[in-house]
Amino acid sequence: MKAYSLENVSALVVDDNRFMRTIIVNVLRGLSIQYVAEARDGHEALEELRATAIDLVVMDWEMEGMSGLQLLQTIRSGKRGINPLMPAIVVSANTIARNIIRARDAGMTEFLAKPVSAASLYARIVSIIENPRRFVRTGSYFGPDRRRRFDPDYVGPKRRTEDKSRDDLNDLDAIKRA
């Protein structure tokens, strides 16, 4: 893993637990991020996102009032003048699969399981820097492409037109016919 200087990055930490916010803020400042804003809930987060040029959101999922799900959906909707492509790291101690899937389907960029460590948070930031994913808009989803890699052995349903192009490329008979 490379060492990045993160001084110019501005981050927003959203958590309704004061101490948890302090932990994440300390990690980010320890990683040399100079500007770290804090929000106690989704409403404060939206205000901050509207008022400040934030590059990265680190957000709790289980929040009272506006939940992490509602906050992420609002960000991805692009309404209220907020950048819908904003990188969002969802932080949660609830690692039950359905919780992670819900966050993925709401458009999270990365998931970070609590307890948080400096190494794990840094790894998520590096992943956003080094492996940016294009965004996908379908009738029911807007967010980073949920397919992180192309698996040639995938046998499930193929829903995209580009899947067909790939099939054609892999079909030697079709290539010969062309």
């Binding site: 893993m1 320890g30 307890p115 956003i128 965004f135 996908v136 009738g139």
Partner: protein, 166 residues
Amino acid sequence: MADNKPKVEFVDNPNPLRSKVKVKAGADPSELIAQANESVKKLSGEFETIFAESVTALTSAMTEVRQTGMTREQGLIRMRRLLHDLRGQAGTFGYPLVSQVGDSACKFIDLSEASGETEVSVLSMHIDALKAINQAKIKGDGGSIGQELMNGLRKVILKHNAGATE
């Protein structure tokens, strides 16, 4: 034949974060991570105070839950919140056993369908475990005592789940 595949639009991600950072040539990220760990370590004392206060609050919430049963009333809601916060924070400060017990209790609350005396008793064992960890100041995974404690909780939950499906 009509193409029934849903329409998908791809949007390029300009990745502004990439343009804001620079690679520190020859630098080791572990130094940066160590610096961040030091910054968090300063909060250890505060966590230990929060842990002790949480155990007291959990004991009080447990008294309420004993009276109401494991129903979604204030006592249980407060207890779930305290356990959730503990499981999320303890591991950061060298108390992974607290995180494990908290996680086990939260999952039990989230996934339990019944809310009677048996469930209250399983929950109470988790609170007792946290009290014991706090009193004995058990850091890390707790060694053989920690393993015994977690195995005990696992067995109780497995036994409870087996009873629930009978």
